[in-house]
Amino acid sequence: MTLKRGHLLDLESLTAEEITLILDTARSFREVIDRDIKKVPTLRGITVVNLFFEPSTRTRISFELAEKRLSADTINFSKATSSVQKGESLKDTIQNIEAMRTDMVVIRHSSPGAAYFLTQCCNSKVINAGDGAHSHPTQGLLDLFTIREKYNIIKGLRVLIIGDIKHSRVARSNIWGFRKLGAQVAICGPSTLLPYEVEKMGVDVFTDLDEALEGIDVLNILRIQTERQDAGYFPTLREYTELYGINSERLKRLNVGFTIMHPGPMNRGVEITVDVAESTDSVILEQVTNGVAIRMAALYLLMANEPIPSREGVLS
């Protein structure tokens, strides 16, 4: 079983077998990052460019650590301090960086399809670290990994994603990933924040949270993107918290064990209360640790196959 692709752009185009291979490989890397000397020489001589056009704490640091723990050389690019400010295009930016002999690109961009666009104009292997509301494959994979480590199997689990589904690449990656591995996925949020025809992705759609919580194993709570507040998707943050906020009173009504996930950054007191975020059911920090292992696995598997990138990858 090998990963026969040169890029990691989304979870939609991966098969269940490929996803499982990445998760299995990540398990070995998880062992590496728990060692005293957290470094292996696997990607010595490989240069990875982290191209971040949007702010990021977790993903950027996680990728950089993953690269360093594999002994790759890393270059960090951020939009604010680059010639993008002078009007240089994405294509020119990547072609100039690549002219200095780099091998892989990790890209975070606000435009959906930015990662795919890169595969069309450079020879590097490309990993999508989030493109607009389209996809964030490594986040989806680390969520799958975290849940699989806890339950041993994804198939048959019931997963509920709560919040701003419309603007969330995390939601889309989670829906594809969990569905492919056989979980049952439901989403819940104000109807203004649910994408049009989202039920065609094979999910159950709820607008009533208490109804949606019935019989759920995993809750993935999305961040309310406060920067979008002016658009008027719901009247006030307080009303959102009242209707869709996860607090311990609400969860007490659920009888059996469940797991709380949040991709970060959290708005404590808005979509999740402090006691829930820090409860024993929460795997939020475990997700962050596992993120490094997943990114090491993705970097390794993409680099370990043929060094010639193929022109595949579909834009969904």
Binding site: D24, S28, D36, V40, L43, M303, A304, E306, P307
Partner: protein, 184 residues
């Protein structure tokens, strides 16, 4: 036309067991016992051999030895030149290697590249007092300056032959075979 191959047995089950017993005695003799010793096997067959070696030494010396299992995939020197991706398995070394006499165990010593990768991997876990290398079969053709301290059997081979080690746990039978291409 598909290439024909034949298997020639060079070691059967009982003699494989006897060889492991002999190596165990050699290790104890050389180190005057098995104090502060740890055994690390290279996955997959080396790990199985290491398990048996540990059981034998423990039986002779009446002590308990730490056993580690090593996957050297991440230390290979051909990661991005190979066509097939090697599957990364888990490394399990849960004891401190520092100041231990580490016995590294593998099934076949050939180019020496696996041993080199294994040495680097072990040293990333700490600073052993020394590392000694035990192999079941030494088939020659070294590409690096590496030698084994304990050898089960030297088998001169040509490059187009393959040494196949089978172990009960994995292959339902114990034995060592040479796979030769058959000339038409």
């Amino acid at each position: 036309m598909s290439e024909k191959k034949k298997l020639i047995e060079v070691m059967d089950g009982p003699s494989l067991t006897r060889t492991i017993t002999r190596i165990a005695h050699e290790i104890i003799e050389r180190n005057r016992g098995a104090e502060d010793m740890a055994v690390i096997g290279v996955r997959t067959r080396g790990a199985l051999l290491a398990e048996r070696l540990v059981a034998t030494i423990e039986e002779i010396e009446k002590i308990s030895l730490p056993l580690g299992l090593l996957d050297i995939t991440l230390y290979r020197d051909d990661v991005h030149t190979r066509l097939e991706q090697p599957i990364v398995q888990k490394t399990e070394i849960i004891f401190r290697v520092s100041n231990k006499v580490v016995i590294l165990v593998d099934d076949v010593l050939f180019t020496g590249r696996t041993a080199r990768a294994a040495l680097d991997a072990i040293i990333d876990f700490g600073r052993p007092k020394c590392i000694q290398f035990a192999v079941l079969i030494d088939r020659g053709h070294r590409e690096l300056p590496i030698r084994a301290d304990y050898v089960g059997k030297n088998i001169p081979t040509s490059f187009n032959e393959r040494v196949v080690v089978k172990m009960q746990e994995q292959d339902e039978v114990d034995g060592v075979y040479i796979e030769k291409p058959v000339e038409e």
